[in-house]
Symmetry: C2
Subunit: 176 residues, 2 copies
Amino acid sequence: MDPRLDLVRRSIRDVPDFPKPGILFKDITPLLSDAEAFEATLALLEADARRQRTEVVLGIESRGFIFGAALASRLGVGFVPARKPGKLPAAVDREAYSLEYGKDALEVHQKSFRAGQRALVVDDVIATGGTARAAVALCRRQGAEVVGVSFVIELSFLEGRKALPGDIPIHALLTY
Amino acid sequence: MDPRLDLVRRSIRDVPDFPKPGILFKDITPLLSDAEAFEATLALLEADARRQRTEVVLGIESRGFIFGAALASRLGVGFVPARKPGKLPAAVDREAYSLEYGKDALEVHQKSFRAGQRALVVDDVIATGGTARAAVALCRRQGAEVVGVSFVIELSFLEGRKALPGDIPIHALLTY
């Protein structure tokens, strides 16, 4: 295994019973606060983003902001935040997605992308894939070309990949 | 004026009546999505952070994550997220602060800092200063030395500086 990937894996902490009993939560905060582990994570995400010739990064609120914005800075490209409803001040496009119980939505300011701009969607974790699917739909609705979807962690037993369009490369550093 | 600072200023959009009638909201999303403006912003924040010999960056949820995490990556240091209550999975320290109506709080995972670690607090905007004051208090409670508080925008008529301890350098790229 790439020693950087091993460092990333060792820096993620399991927290039992969060957000509710029976769930084992993958906590990335030890990875963030460790300079070497954070650097390793971003370097691995960056290599993939460069391979996809990324021209803009969309980060999903709010842990996706952490990885997405740092990645955009390293690539020298712009950053577009996808937010929960009501947080963005100007006119937005909205995409709803299903939760275990009920619905939620993501919003992006209108005209956030140039036509054909190569967009990479970034979040910390892919679980059921609902938020990532909504983010991809927003990029496409605004004329961007989604060149990839990148995560630090994939919870493969939740089969989030199946929620995403089959023609988009999906990249996850770690799979559980 | 530094041409980078002029670019930052021109990239911020005024949105009237958000979040409520009569408020003129400073929207940073055009700055983020413009690669040159985002780079200029981060370069200016980075210069100040290096002057303070920053060893770790604390970013305040959630727009502070965008600037703080990108800044930490550029500095090669770790990143600590300060979050709204209930978002962090493990044991936290909490600091309450006052809002215009009511109260809110920030949380940081316990043991996020090493004793004496030089911490820089980052957010997009300083308004009344309540959240920044809470963030500074959390750093200090965990033994960090707060070497500065950095913002992209200062809304000086709200006098947020007065809420912060007088011995900490406060840096804002733009003042309104």
